[in-house]
Symmetry: D3
Subunit: 316 residues, 6 copies
């Protein structure tokens, strides 16, 4: 398998196809227009400048097009940049497609769906089970394709489902260590907690917030969806309020977007599981690009900390 | 009209009927049981101790009963207390009823309803008008009887509707000063912003939080109700999201219970109107009991400030 | 009327007179000097680069000069920039003057003065009235010309008086809704609250903080002025302390610059009125430049929020 | 098994032996001395007043003595109190000993030691293994008897080791879910993170902070102990710094007592595991005393939240 | 010299004259009135209860009267209390006067005045010298008698001048270590920084805040006084603004009451000197009552910390 | 003496030797490589661009080399930049050495050592004296050469010792004003408080954090060193814990890096002395470059404040 563009070192030459994620026009200090291209493959993204770009270039090299590039990897203000030597749009004979360039969860979505379904299948409380199954079915396509966020963690195709599957693994081990936990409530909470993202976000490519996402948010959207589903399935028991509470409180605090703090044991734990999996994902991805004896870049979503990668190596 | 119990000065004798708001048993330092009674009339409440209270007294003097009391107003740790000299339960021939002892909004609820309805009637946007009318009708009885809160401000019978009526007066003057405001959206937001309190709270007497109130909260409950109403009335326009946003963001910040901060001009203004009317109510009620040249008690919900009442007197 | 420069869209050509607000020399990556010009008309300001600028250009194109420019509006790092094609200094025959290029309150200053005076005239408390009139007279010229701030809100010629006039409108409606408010004290507080800005700031053009403004601040400067005025007018009554308190506390909290929080009802309300009018001004001006369905830029002084402009349109 | 004193309801009579945890002299309002006794059994503690207590009573009823009590459980200011009817000191023939009255971890200390040792045994990195074993041996007696804290969580005999054993269970499941974690480093961190408490605290009975505990703290004490042990064992590799860092940063933030925030993936996870096990312990113990449909008391160490216990019941 | 009441240990008998600082009436649980007396001598204050107090006792034992008391020092809720056995009002033949019972600075006020005057005399900048001398003269009587605060630090007769004298000692040593400091400005700032307290507070006995103190505060009062003095002395130089700034900013931050943070080197240092001397005073007084090997009570104004007094003893 | 490069004004020509502090390669908008050089002499540092830099230039002009430069001082984005006209590497015949270009404390290190030693000599408590002398000796070379920090204050050769010497001057004057202070403990704390920086930082040139510095920090490193030294010198008295506490708490608060707040009077004072000397150093150095009537740049480590330099001039 070829090495992704973000794994090239400064000074290396790169020659391969890349997807244009965004293309912005600017004017150079000599007065001539240029394009700032954000190019990506499955390993991540890199910036490149296309100098002396005429009006036709703006059309040729716009977002969501695929290009063949030859260039040198350079460093600019501490970040890597690709200095373009040759560039051309891809043609039909190149046999490349957008999906080849998008970062995707390391597990296929069918497997992810299976793991989630088997967990729903195990639930003993039929009220929680029916509502969970109903909502997963309703949003199934998006659930399996959406990222879990626009940035920071799991910001890749199927990121949402992948995040949920890892949280389910954590939830299972928690329930076996602490049997006083209500496993069904916790599983339902894990599966639904971020499902509102399928309304909050625009989709898996060039992901942005929708108007409903900005003004209402995935938490409140999901609380309403649960009420709706319960009404439709004619369930009027206390579990529905508990489940709504889990979704409502999973950000943990008002200043992090939850209108109520966790007031159920399972809600408190859900908040922790969400955090742990998100942070593991961020730390692993940052450390993957770091050499032993060195530090990652500062990670904004981890209180702007940098992490150290030791020289010696043990692994689980 | 008789002076309420909270307007008596230390040293004065008090003789009248009072409603028992709560009654709690304790044990005195001599080992004998006593009752701590919280007694109220329309002016507010006062604490009293009933010493040497036998088991039958616990039954006779329990919450929501009315009593005739003769006693002296004393000061205990800086707060007034009623020293009971004589006490007896009320009888049928006393012709007193609970409603006589509850603090109530200074305007009758019919008038409040009229003011709210006339405002709904004036709305030009029929989508906002229909949803608002639908929800007001659905909760009308509670809307006119509930307090706006369990403490701090408008914590009296019809407090919720009274608060809304004053906010509507403010909203009208705002819209005439700043014509760029969307009056219909603002009016709808004012009328519905706290309507979820009719589910969050238990009712107008001995008001407490319900389980739904504690775990979901009036803001999220109302957002779901608006979605429901819109579905029922088959309205699918952008205004519904805007209205949900106004309710959602009316506490202004995450740490104050709003999962989203105001992102519409009318939402920002709604937050201000809510604050101004609540604070005017708290300050007026505290200053009413304060003598010129003196300070109110510290008011917790106003950042624990105390307010000064000047000697000289101007009025609007 | 011609469209202001800030209303041009990217790609449009612009040809008109503009005022140079500031001119800064830099060195291009080819080693040649250039000028960064900030150009303004009544609609606001735009940046432009003048390449290959010799020493004589620095003299010709310095701040407070007027120029005729032909150029294209471009986008640079998400902000608009004017690419200069032709530029020349204005001449006497062009008949343009600085005042034509400064943003100014939408009401003439004579009208603003009339509204303020009529409010002073209505005051019944002669002590408050005399001090207010005295201080307004003393600073009248500056009061009518100064902006209310160097940035964020009402940062235009006559912005200070315009801000006061709108706050007076709000104050009047508040006093009619809540008659317990002391209207005279509130009016005096509104009129004087920011008058210290005439000492704090340097003037209506290229507004900056004076040394006294930086080290003492408009709040403390005005408190001293009120003491001075009271002494001169031989007024020694409690109202003077109350009025000083209103000015002192109008920022609401220590961290916002008020050494005392509001401890009078009117002081609390003054703080709200100041906030509401400042925020309405910021939101209106940002939304004016925003298309329906889109968001304003993030507004730093509004907690860095962005505001949404709905598609549908209702108006008061 | 007899029901512990803290499980008695208000109104019930209690008759059994209890350990005096503390005894404080006061003067009643009638001028006579009395003793405030804090009495405990394995279920927890309850306050009682001993009226008219002479000087000899102060000697008889002092801390760490055992007494036989007959009394009624009453409510005082919302907390339970025991009204003493009869009391006498225990005698040799009563065959009771202090250990019978101390709350103790639900697992015997031999088992706890076995679990910890088997985990040390599994470690593959011999440097980490040797230091961990060395320090556990050095403090073994205290490690198995000390509580994990003076209050809030695991504040019982063997609480420290019990807390460590549960964190090890969590650590094992984390390492199997996220194989990129360095299991040896994480296990060593879990085992040693709170071992400094054996110097910070005075012991398992009437636990208090030592002077070293107050002025240096268990975190810094342990960092020094690791340096010492490494020197003694002649280990000079990078792992020692990593292990010190895990201990140093396990409180997560400066304001929570860690001079450095986690900068290793395992340090971040250690902080989470510590939190989760402490919170599960607090929530479980509070909910155990709560009836379905009711709330726990507010728990200070959980941001003063109260937790709800639902009516319906699912369990893992 | 006799040992003050606050130096008595629990269990000791006390027999001496004391000043009644405050006297508050309450009702005992047997229904009889009693008085809570706060009694003081130069060592500090102690609470006492006078049971079965008739109306004549309220007159006899009111604030600012002196009494002869025989009683036992007891402990109540961790604080000392005096159990009265005998009490009588003082008579003329007792030859005691209020001044004997007030805590007073350890240096006579004439000496304090001399130290301050000699510092003013040393000033070389005549503008700063004249204003400082003018204001010290104007408030001289109060300056020498007032405390520096109502509680926390230097809350004794002449506390204000004593605090200033120690800050001057610190200021002198600072100026000799860092010669770049403007000594005259710093001395003037030290002398005037708290002089507004003579208006803010009611006086040296039963010290309370005045209305001006509450609503304007000593900082703003002094800024106005400096402006006034400068006008009267016809000084219009930059130093006056600098001096006002020193007073204005001496609390260091908005949330601590300064509308501007220090923006002059001398202002920054003034803030530190004020803090150091206040804290030394608090720590010394708390440690004086603490035994070696023990901790002081928690001191609220020192972030609620407690301080340790070591066993071993070194002294400067 | 020649004027340092940072004292040149914009527009001046500069011709002298400079040390290359860092050299970073970039690509210009014309596609050609260039070097960004950070050049320094004893007055501070200035940025310069070397355009069209070939591979051999990267070798010639790398960090820690000395160059002869002819250039013009220009302004770029408000900061000074040197526009290079001629540049060449220094040769042996130039007789320049690195030490000539490093900013150094204004006192030679022998003098600094003498002042510190004479203070140790004066100590009366032999335990504190021996430990202090032992640790100073152990780290003597680094102690006299290291800076006190990488930026903000005393970031120059011998900065650490210079900072300690000034803090000792402050400590002596404090002990003479407040004789209750334990001078020996305070002196020992001053001398050792930052000595851990010799492990935390990499050295006096191009100073960076070591791995131990980042993960453990100078505070914890020093606490361990004191324990070690005490063990080696066989001292087991309470003073060692006190001394560790002074080092541990000298940052004052958890969020500033101290795991314990000061709980000894001397610890509180140490924190203040550290702050005062650091701030004096920052303010003096910033004001030195500021003209009368102007402000310094905003200083991040002083809460981002700017300081004013008055026109008139008094000095101590």
């Amino acid at each position: 398998m070829k090495k992704g563009v973000t794994f090239c070192e400064v000074g290396e030459q790169f020659s391969d196809f890349l997807l244009i994620k965004s293309s912005t026009r600017g004017t150079a200090s000599n007065g001539k227009p240029f394009l700032t291209l954000m190019l990506q493959d499955q390993s991540g993204e890199i910036e490149a400048k296309l100098w002396d770009a005429g009006p036709e270039d703006e059309t040729t090299y716009k977002a969501e097009n695929i290009v063949k590039v030859l260039g040198d990897v350079q460093s600019y203000r501490g970040r890597q940049q690709l200095k373009i030597k040759k560039i051309r749009p891809s043609t039909d004979t190149d046999s490349v497609s957008i999906a080849d360039f998008l970062e995707t969860a390391p597990q296929p979505k069918e497997e992810l769906m299976d793991e989630i379904n088997s967990c729903i299948f195990e639930m003993k409380n039929s009220n929680l089970q029916r509502v969970t199954r109903h909502l997963v079915k309703k949003h199934q396509v998006a659930f399996l394709e959406y990222p879990a966020a626009t940035k920071n963690h799991h910001e890749f195709v199927s990121g949402l489902a992948y995040h949920v599957v890892y949280m389910l693994k954590l939830a299972k081990s928690m329930c076996s260590i602490y049997p006083s936990l209500d496993a069904d409530l916790l599983y339902a909470g894990v599966i639904l907690h971020d499902l509102g993202k399928t309304t909050e976000l625009s989709g898996p490519i060039s992901t942005q917030y929708t108007v409903e996402g900005n003004l209402i948010g995935h938490i409140s959207l999901m609380v309403t969806e649960i009420a709706d589903a319960a009404k439709e399935l004619d369930i009027h028991t206390e579990e529905m309020t508990m489940l709504q509470h889990l979704v409502l409180s999973h950000h943990g605090k008002g200043e992090w977007g939850s209108p109520k703090p966790p007031m159920l044991k399972e809600a408190e734990i859900l908040h922790y599981l969400d955090n742990i999996d998100a942070k593991m994902n961020m730390m692993d991805r940052a450390l993957e690009r770091t050499k032993p004896g060195d530090y990652t870049e500062r990670i904004f979503a981890l209180d702007n900390r940098k992490f150290y990668k030791p020289f010696y190596q043990n692994q689980s």
